[in-house]
Amino acid sequence: MNSEAATLESAVDAWTAAWSHRDTKTIVSLWDEQDAQSSYLPAERHDPLIGSAAVTNYVKTTCTLYNTVRHRAEGVLTRRLSPSLGLAFYELSWMLADDRGPIGGTCRVTAIWRNREDQWHLFHYAEAPLAPLLELQAYYESVAADGLDAIPQRGME
């Protein structure tokens, strides 16, 4: 891995770590606030958030709504597209928890970064979950793997 890729990987690490700490200030600082057309497509939305105000609002809302946020990037692939552009692709494992308990999953991420004054700033971020049909099948298979005896006992007998 060359040093440029390592730097981009460090930016990915900083991004996921900031999410895991619900550190909105750092998350927003890693976003390209100068780019009016920057776009962020979360896994749960049909349409992207456009511009830093919309992204900042989303980040702050998510970090406020949940008591715990965990992000982990795995299999990170990076490419320098030009002197000022970097592409990162990875699988994101995520978890959000509130008083109802945790929810989580994985999705694939395409993240495009712009280097300005030797700092990487994200200006396009898109999350792509595995097809829900397969997610559901995997859930059914995981319950089958638990076995019949794992049927939840609800203390009603």
Binding site: R45, R108, A131, E135
Partner: protein, 158 residues
């Protein structure tokens, strides 16, 4: 719509149209063949397909897995992010019938995916080198399914 958006939307439509005849050679011609590490992330694949060998193997398998496949794109955007690189996004609806024994009737299944693509300008035109398909997540799709059922059951409640 800018000239770039028109050009990219036209390219995407040609790319998506190749699915109907499972013309994967046609699809490949719209990729940057000089790129040694193109990346394709289909929604049903568990890991990204990196490099031509992996992508071609996936396309070959698609011919076996699906009996029919139709696709259509919409909501195209294109943004030049460097002198020779464009970021494109679009939505794609696919309708497929999975291959299987003839005696078992199968209904087509369909979903919409949100696509993020990167294209490089080549002498022959814009060509893909990174393409990621992503549906909305399971929770959002469950919500959409439930909203559809509500509409079916109580059409006047809207």
């Amino acid at each position: 719509m800018s000239d770039l958006q028109i050009e990219i939307a036209d390219l995407v439509k040609r790319y998506v149209a190749c699915s109907e005849t499972m013309d994967f050679e046609g699809k490949k011609r719209l990729w940057d063949l000089d790129d040694p590490l193109p990346l394709l992330m289909p929604e049903e694949a568990h890991t990204p397909l990196v490099g031509w060998k992996a992508i071609e193997a996936y396309w070959s398998k698609s011919r076996v897995v699906m009996e029919t496949l139709k696709s259509q794109s919409a909501n195209h955007t294109a943004r030049k992010i460097d002198s020779d690189i464009t970021l494109a996004t679009y939505d794609m609806r696919w309708i497929a019938t999975l291959a299987g024994p003839k005696e078992i009737p199968r209904k087509p299944i369909s979903a919409d995916v949100r696509v993020t693509a990167l294209l490089r300008q080549k002498p022959e035109g814009w060509r893909f080198f990174h393409l990621m398909e992503g549906p909305v997540d399971l929770m959002a799709m469950t919500r959409a399914a439930s909203a559809r059922r509500a509409e079916e059951l109580f059409p006047s409640s809207r």
